[in-house]
């Protein structure tokens, strides 16, 4: 049985390649039960206006294959953002749900 893997994105899309690489790895491990969680400054990676050249194809793949990309609601609110600011490939969840997702993982890979 494959493991439950949670990719945790933490860093912003500006000044780092980490969100792009995290999404690339999410695609790579997608044969397993995979979820992506976005917390902290990584939520900026999913703004409608942000340049997604490096990872839009990964995000599209995750959407097509129904691998959830979960955005921490508290992280959004702390930055004055709302769900309406984000692309529709992602789902906003309460912090408690995000923590449950992480707690339920067999392996977490942080980017």
């Amino acid at each position: 049985m494959s493991k439950a893997i949670v990719i945790i994105l933490r860093k912003p899309p500006h000044g780092s390649l980490y969100p792009a690489e995290g999404l690339r790895v999410a695609v790579a491990v997608s044969a397993s039960e995979t979820k992506v969680v976005s917390i902290g400054d990584s939520v900026y990676a999913f703004l409608k206006e942000v340049d997604m050249t490096l990872y839009k194809h990964h995000l599209d793949f995750l959407k097509e294959t129904e691998i959830p990309v979960l955005i921490d609601k508290d992280s959004l609110e702390e930055r004055g953002l709302t769900e309406g600011d984000l692309v529709d490939a992602v789902t906003v969840e309460e912090r408690s749900e995000i923590l449950n997702t992480i707690a339920g993982a067999d392996a977490t890979l942080t980017f």
Partner: protein
Amino acid sequence: MPTIGFLFFSGPYQSESPETTIELAKAALEKGMNVKIFCYMDAVNCVKVGQKKVAGVTNIEEQFRELIAKGAEVRLCTLCMLVRGMLVGGTKAFIEGAKRAGTPDIADIVEESDRVLVIS
């Protein structure tokens, strides 16, 4: 025999993350564990050949050679090496025993390991 996997991100000579990874891997090997390390992003620089020895500074190349000699499996992100110009000269650019790999190897390491540590 338990297996520990490392997803390792840091290049050498800027922080102590490579030393931390090396020491944890050594300790695991000494306890008889299998060790699998995936060098991602700048971490591929840790296995470049020809790193200068400087007194008082841990030589990361030597340490990785030692890990491989002791049985650690070291896989290198090929795309990360390509964009860093590390594939000029073929496999001679990085230490013997380290293997070219891709992100699907991360999936394998996760599946094969009892625990995975991420060190950035």
